[in-house]
C-alpha cells in the first residue's frame, strides 16, 4: 500500500515528523514500511522564470537565446525548443540544478553563446502527459501570474514523500488511508479525526428507480447503493489526480476517480454503473450460471461458473462481485446517471473467483482479507460528498442498503494484570486504556468492545499485542524461563546419525546435500527394470519442472549427478557421502514412509574394496558385526560382477558395488564409479554401540599361514566361514594377504594366502593343540569347496 504522507494531514497532525522518523516509528508500532520515495528529493534548483526576450542564435538555426527573469536575477539561456515566446512563465533549471533522472545542469556555451541553465519540459521535471494532457511538445508553459523564482517542487507539490507499507493479511483496515492515519496518530500520540461525510442531496428517491435483491446473503453480506443523476463526466481536479497518482492509480474521469479515491481513503472498493445500461431497473446479486459468458471492463471474455458471485441487472451479469465490473455497464463519457455500489463480499469467495478468472485487482485483494460491513455506508456517503464537491452530478436522496446479518459485537475481558504477566513487564493500566481507546476499542470496566474494522482481534493475546506494540517492543526486557529445568540431549537416533557422519568424514569422505525431489527419468537412467517397486514415487502435482516432480525413492541418482558434476569440473579422486531421506509411498496412507539412507560415492584412485572398506568401518563402529556381502548379479544399476547386497539382521539393508558402465554413460561419467546405498533406519535398529572392556590376552597367539588353491568361483566368504567355524572359540583373526592367478597355478584356479591367528585365553597353544584344528579346517575345505593346500 502506497501512501503520500501529505494525505495523512487530513486526519491527524503531521507537523515536525520527518519521513525517516515516520518510517522507523510506524515499523516499530506494527505497520512495516518497505520504503519511502520522494521525487522531490531528486529535484534541485529548478524555479519559475519569465521569458523576457527570445532571439535567434547567431550561429545555429535551431537554437534560440532567451533572457529570463528568475526573481533574483536575469539569466541568459539557450534553448532548442520551438514553443517559447516572451511573456511566458516556464520551469528554469539553473546552474547546478538536479533533474529527477540524475542529470546535473551546468552553465556553459552552446555554439559560442553563454547559457546559464536549461528550460524544462514536463518530462524533465519527472511528470507525465497525464499531469498535463493539454501541454504541447517542448518547454512546459506554466500558468501566468506565478511568483518568479519559486521552487518548482512547491508549484507542483513535488516534495511529496510516498511511503510504501507492507500490510499483513490480518489488517485489512490498514489498506486505507484512514486506517493508516489511525495507526499514525496512535503511534505519535496525536489527535485523530475523520469527518462524517455530509451530502446535501437533490430530492427525489433512489427507490423510484432501482430495486436491489441479494440471493446469497452469506457471500454478499451488505449491498449499499446511492444514485447520482445529471452526471457531468470530466477530468478530476489536480489534487485528486495527484493523490491517486501517488498511490499508483491512473486518473480516468471524475466519477471513476471518486470510486478509486474511496478505495484508497476508506479501503472500501466501490463500483460505478452507468444506470442507462442496467436493464429492468434492478440489481440482483446471485451466483453465475455454469457457462454464463461475461466481458469484464478490461475487454477480456470470461466463462463463469456457479461458484462465482455476480452482480446482475434484470437480465445479465454486469459485474463480477468484488473483482471487476462488466464492459456492458461501465461509466463512459456520455454517462448521465450513475449507481454507486458499496458492498461487502465474502473474502474467500472473492479470492477463489479472482483466482479462477486470473483477475487480481485492487478491489479483490482488499475483499480477500475480509472487509468491515459497517464501512459501506460512510464510504458511499463520502463518494456522494465528493460528487457534490466536484460538481459532477446531483445526488438523489435515499439509499438502498441490503444488510443481512450485522456483525456480532465482539467483547473481550480486560485483564491488565494478566497482560503484564504475559508480556513480562508492567504497562500502567491507564496507558493500556488510552492506547486501546485511541485505536478505536471501547474499554468499559473490565470489558473491551472491539471495533468492527478489527476482525483480527478476538482474544486475550490480541489485546496484549495491541498494548505491547504501541508501548514498544523495544521496552520488552530479556528474561529466561522459570519453571522446571529440562535436559537438552540428543536422542539415540540423532547421536547415531552424528556418529555415522563423523566416521565417514574420518574415512576421508565429504558430505553432500541434495534436493529431495528429482526427475522421473532417473529410473531409466539407473537402468531399473520396468516393474521395479522403486518406480512408485510420491508425485508433486504442481512442480517447478519435470526435473523436480517426484520425491526420490533412491539416493543413487542424486549421487550420480553430483559425481557427474565433479568429474565435469575435472575433480580427481572424489569421495562423497550423503545422509538424507528417501520417500516410499505407503498403500492406503496419506503420507509416505520417510527413511534415511547413507549413500557413498567415489571415483578416481579407488576400487570396490576401498568402498567396501569404508562401509565396513562404519558398520564396525556401529557394532554391526553380523553381516555379509552377498554377490548380486540382478541389480541392473550395478556391474553384474561387482555388486553385493549388504545383509544384516536377516535382511538386505543396502547395496554396494561398481555402477554399471551403461548407467555411468547415462550420466556422462567416464570414470568407474563406486556407490553404496545403505538404509540408515536398519542400521539404527541393528547398532550396538555400547562397548565393554574385554580382558587383554595373557597368553601368546599362534599364527599359521595357509596357502590355498581354490576354483575361481569359490568365494573368500565361503572359505573364511569354514575356517572360522572350525577354529571355534580359539579363533582370533583371519587375513587374506595375497590372491594370485597365473604361472604355477592351474587354469581356472586361484591361490589364496591367509594368515590365521589363534589364541586360547587360558593357556599357550602348542602344536599339539593347533595341528588337529588346521587338519580339520583343510579337510572341511577340501570336502565342501574342493580347496586344497598349495
Amino acid at each position: 500500500m502506497k501512501l503520500p504522507l501529505s494525505w495523512l494531514s487530513d486526519y491527524t497532525d503531521m507537523s515536525g515528523i520527518t519521513p525517516e522518523c515516520y518510517n522507523h516509528a510506524l515499523t516499530m508500532s506494527g505497520s512495516k514500511v518497505e520504503g519511502i520515495e520522494n521525487i522531490g528529493d531528486k529535484i534541485q534548483n529548478i524555479v519559475t522564470g519569465k521569458i523576457l526576450s527570445v532571439e535567434k542564435h547567431p550561429d545555429a538555426d535551431k537554437l534560440k537565446v532567451c533572457m529570463l527573469d528568475v526573481g533574483t536575477e536575469t539569466l541568459q539561456i539557450v534553448t532548442g525548443a520551438d514553443n517559447v515566446k516572451p511573456g511566458q512563465t516556464v520551469p528554469v533549471a539553473k546552474d547546478g540544478a538536479l533533474l529527477p533522472d540524475g542529470t546535473k545542469i551546468k552553465k556553459g556555451k552552446l555554439r559560442g553563446v553563454e547559457s546559464n541553465g536549461m528550460l524544462c519540459s514536463y518530462e524533465e521535471i519527472g511528470m507525465t502527459k497525464e499531469d498535463f494532457p493539454d501541454a504541447e511538445y517542448g518547454i512546459l508553459i506554466l500558468e501566468d501570474g506565478l511568483p518568479l523564482g519559486k521552487d518548482i517542487k512547491e508549484v507542483f507539490g513535488l516534495d511529496n514523500p510516498v511511503v510504501e507499507f507492507e500490510i499483513t493479511s490480518n489488517r485489512p483496515d490498514c489498506f486505507s488511508v484512514i486506517g493508516l492515519a489511525r495507526e499514525t496518530a496512535v503511534t505519535f500520540n496525536r489527535p485523530f479525526n475523520v469527518k462524517t461525510p455530509v451530502v446535501k442531496g437533490s430530492g427525489d428517491d433512489i427507490n423510484n428507480y432501482m430495486r436491489i435483491t441479494v440471493d446469497e446473503p452469506t457471500l454478499c453480506k451488505r449491498y449499499t447503493a446511492k444514485m447520482v443523476k445529471n452526471v457531468k463526466i470530466g477530468p478530476s481536479p489536480a489534487w485528486m489526480v495527484k493523490r491517486l497518482k501517488s498511490c499508483g492509480i491512473r486518473s480516468i474521469n471524475n466519477i471513476v476517480d471518486i470510486t478509486n479515491y474511496i478505495l484508497l481513503e476508506y479501503g472500501q472498493p466501490m463500483h460505478a454503473f452507468d444506470m442507462s445500461y442496467l436493464e429492468g431497473n434492478e440489481i440482483n446479486v446471485r451466483r453465475a450460471r455454469d457457462g454464463e459468458p461475461m466481458t469484464t471492463l478490461d475487454g477480456e471474455e470470461h466463462t463463469l461458473d456457479s461458484s462465482m458471485l455476480m452482480i446482475c441487472d434484470g437480465k445479465k451479469p454486469v459485474a463480477v462481485a468484488g473483482v471487476m465490473g462488466g464492459l456492458n455497464s461501465e461509466v463512459r463519457e456520455d454517462t448521465k446517471t450513475v449507481l454507486f455500489e458499496s458492498a461487502t463480499f465474502l473474502g474467500s469467495s472473492v479470492r477463489i473467483t479472482a483466482k479462477k478468472l486470473g483477475l487480481r485487482t485492487e478491489s479483490s485483494s482488499r475483499f480477500e482479507k475480509g472487509l468491515d460491513t459497517e464501512n459501506t455506508y460512510p464510504a458511499v456517503m463520502r463518494a456522494c460528498e465528493l460528487v457534490e464537491e466536484l460538481g459532477c452530478g446531483e445526488v438523489v436522496d435515499g439509499i438502498i442498503d441490503v444488510y443481512g446479518t450485522k456483525p456480532e459485537k465482539v467483547t473481550i475481558k480486560f485483564e491488565p494484570e494478566r497482560i503484564n504477566e504475559f508480556i513480562g513487564f508492567n504497562v500502567p493500566t491507564d496507558e493500556m486504556v488510552k492506547t486501546l481507546t485511541d485505536l478505536g476499542f471501547t474499554v468499559d470496566g473490565d470489558e473491551i468492545c472491539v471495533p468492527t474494522f478489527r476482525p483480527d482481534v478476538l482474544c486475550f493475546n490480541d489485546i496484549a499485542e495491541e498494548v505491547v506494540r504501541m508501548y514498544g517492543y523495544d521496552k520488552i526486557p530479556s528474561t529466561l524461563m522459570d519453571g522446571d529445568t529440562t535436559v537438552g540431549i540428543k536422542t539415540y537416533g540423532q547421536q547415531i546419525e552424528d556418529r555415522v557422519k563423523n566416521t565417514l568424514v574420518g574415512c576421508g569422505l565429504y558430505e553432500t546435500l541434495v534436493f529431495s525431489f528429482t526427475n522421473p527419468n532417473i529410473f531409466d537412467r539407473l537402468n531399473m527394470p520396468a516393474d521395479s517397486a522403486k518406480r512408485n514415487a510420491v508425485v508433486i502435482t504442481n512442480p517447478l519442472g519435470v526435473e523436480n516432480s517426484i520425491m526420490r525413492t533412491t539416493a543413487i541418482a542424486s549421487m550420480m549427478e553430483v559425481v557427474a558434476r565433479n568429474e565435469n569440473f575435472k575433480a580427481e579422486n572424489v569421495r562423497l557421502f550423503e545422509l538424507g531421506k528417501i520417500y516410499i509411498p505407503k498403500e492406503g496412507e496419506d503420507l509416505p514412509e520417510e527413511r534415511r539412507v547413507v549413500t557413498i560415492g567415489m571415483y578416481g584412485n579407488c576400487d570396490y574394496f576401498d568402498l567396501k572398506g569404508v562401509v565396513e568401518v562404519m558398520l564396525d563402529d556401529l557394532g554391526i558385526a553380523k553381516r555379509s556381502f552377498e554377490p548380486e548379479k540382478e541389480n541392473t544399476t550395478f556391474h553384474p560382477g561387482r555388486c553385493a547386497n549388504l545383509v544384516a539382521g536377516g535382511r538386505t539393508i543396502g547395496v554396494i558395488g561398481q555402477i554399471h558402465p551403461e548407467v555411468s554413460e547415462n550420466y556422462g561419467v567416464s570414470s568407474d564409479v563406486y556407490v553404496a546405498e545403505i538404509d540408515f533406519e536398519d542400521m539404527l535398529m541393528l547398532a550396538k554401540t555400547e562397548k565393554t572392556y574385554k580382558k587383554l590376552p595373557k597368553y601368546p597367539a599362534s599364527q599359521r599361514d595357509l596357502a590355498l588353491i581354490a576354483d575361481e568361483g569359490v568365494l573368500a566368504a565361503q572359505i573364511e566361514s569354514i575356517i572360522k567355524k572350525k577354529a571355534g572359540n580359539i579363533f582370533e583373526s583371519l587375513t587374506l594377504f595375497d590372491v594370485y592367478k597365473g604361472n604355477q597355478i592351474p587354469e581356472n584356479k586361484k591361490s589364496m594366502a591367509y594368515s590365521l591367528v589363534l589364541r586360547d585365553e587360558n593357556k599357550t597353544l602348542t602344536d599339539d593343540d593347533v595341528n588337529p584344528i588346521i587338519e580339520s579346517i583343510l579337510k572341511e575345505l577340501s570336502a565342501k569347496l574342493d580347496v586344497t593346500l598349495r
Binding site: R351, Y510, E511, L544, P592
Partner: protein
C-alpha cells in the same frame, strides 16, 4: 716378558689413537685380547716363569690388560659418538617441505552451522524434534490457523501432492506434532527441510532449511522469548550482537514479531549490507496462539508459550561469506573442501 707386555701395551695404545672405525677397534681388540691375541699368547708363557717372577708378571699382565681394555672402551665411546654424529648429519631433511596429510573429509557447511545451533539450544535445555517433509495440509496449515483460502497461503508457494498433502512450507507443523504428543514443559527445536515453489537463483532455492523453536510451560512470557533469542544470538554471533523485535503478523502466534540482529558488518551503525538500517532481519517469532494450544489440548488459560522459526541457509551464507545459494546444493568438491 716384562718388556713384551709393555711393548704390547704401547703398540695397542698407538693403534687405538690412529684407528677411525669401530671395525678397526674390534680388530685391535681381537688382535690383542682375543684367544689368539698378543696378550693371550704372552700369558700362555707364564707357566715357564719362576715362582718369584710369576706374581709380579701376573700383576703386570693384569695391569696391562686393564689399561688396554679401558683404552678400548674410551676409544669406543668416542667412535660411537662420532658415528652417531655422522649418521645424524646424513639424515638432515628439509623440514619446510609439505607434510603428508591424512585424508579426512568434511561435513557440509549447512551441517556444521546446524550443529552449532543445535548445541546452543541443547545447552539451554531444548531437545531436538524431527518430522516428515511430506506433510498433511492439516499440520502445515489448518492447525496453524491457516484454513483453506486463507490469504496467508498466498505468500507460501506450496507444492501439493494431493488436496490434503503438501511438501511442508515451514517447520512450524512440528509445533503441532510435538504438542499433540508431549505435555508441558516443552522446549524443543525442530530443524528440517522446507519446500517452496521458488525457482533456483543466487538467493532462492525450492528446498531449504528452517529451524523451529517451541517453548510451552506455565508463565512463559514475551520477555522470555526475547531473552531466549538474545541468548541464542549472542552465542551464535558473539556477546556484542544485539537483537531487535518488531511487531509482525503470523497466523499461529500472537503477538508476533520479526526479529532483527545487529548488522555483522557495521555492528549497528548502518552500512551497505544492512541498507543503512544497522539491523538485519533474521527470524520470525511470537507467543503461541491460544487456538493452536487449544487444538493440541493444552489449556491457554493455564499455559503459555513462544515459538520461533529461522532460515538456516541465510545464516550459513553470512557466516561463511557465501554469495550464491546454489553452491550449497551443487556439491562441487572445490567448494566442500573449503569448510
Amino acid at each position: 716378558m716384562k718388556e713384551q707386555l709393555l711393548a704390547i701395551r704401547k703398540s695397542a695404545e698407538e693403534k687405538l689413537v690412529s684407528l677411525t672405525s669401530l671395525q678397526e677397534l674390534e680388530d685391535v681388540r681381537v688382535s690383542v685380547l682375543g684367544k689368539k691375541g698378543e696378550l693371550t699368547q704372552v700369558l700362555r708363557q707364564m707357566g715357564a716363569l719362576s715362582a718369584e717372577e710369576r706374581p709380579i708378571i701376573g700383576a703386570l699382565a693384569n695391569e696391562v690388560r686393564e689399561a688396554i681394555e679401558s683404552a678400548l672402551s674410551e676409544r669406543k665411546t668416542v667412535l660411537l659418538a662420532k658415528a652417531r654424529e655422522e649418521k645424524l648429519a646424513k639424515e638432515v631433511i628439509d623440514v619446510t617441505m609439505a607434510g603428508k596429510k591424512p585424508e579426512i573429509g568434511g561435513l557440509h557447511p549447512i551441517t556444521k552451522v546446524l550443529d552449532e545451533v543445535k548445541n546452543i539450544f541443547l545447552g539451554m535445555g531444548f531437545s531436538i524434534a524431527e518430522g516428515p517433509d511430506v506433510e498433511l495440509d492439516y499440520y502445515n496449515f489448518e492447525a496453524l490457523n491457516i484454513p483453506k483460502e486463507h490469504p496467508a497461503r498466498d505468500t507460501q508457494d506450496t507444492f501439493y501432492v494431493s488436496d490434503n498433502v503438501v511438501l511442508r512450507t515451514q517447520t512450524s507443523p512440528m509445533q503441532i506434532r510435538v504438542m499433540e504428543k508431549a505435555k508441558p514443559p516443552i522446549r524443543i527445536i525442530a530443524p528440517g527441510r522446507v519446500y517452496r515453489s521458488d525457482a533456483v537463483d543466487a538467493t532462492h532455492s525450492p528446498v531449504f532449511h528452517q529451524i523451529e523453536g517451541l517453548v510451552v510451560d506455565k508463565g512463559i512470557t514475551m520477555a522470555d522469548l526475547k531473552g531466549t533469542l538474545e541468548q541464542f544470538i549472542k552465542s551464535l554471533y558473539g556477546q556484542d550482537a544485539k537483537i531487535r523485535l518488531r511487531p509482525h503478523h503470523f497466523p499461529f502466534t500472537e503477538p508476533s514479531a520479526e526479529v532483527d540482529v545487529s548488522c555483522f558488518v557495521c555492528g549497528g551503525k548502518g552500512c551497505r549490507v544492512c541498507k543503512g538500517e544497522g539491523f538485519i532481519e533474521i527470524l520470525g517469532a511470537g507467543m503461541v496462539h491460544p487456538d493452536v494450544l487449544r487444538r493440541c489440548n493444552i489449556d491457554p488459560d493455564e499455559y503459555s508459550g513462544f515459538a520461533f522459526g529461522l532460515g538456516l541457509e541465510r545464516i550459513v551464507m553470512r557466516r561463511m561469506n557465501i554469495d550464491d545459494m546454489r553452491h550449497l546444493y551443487e556439491n562441487d568438491v572445490r567448494f566442500l573442501k573449503q569448510f
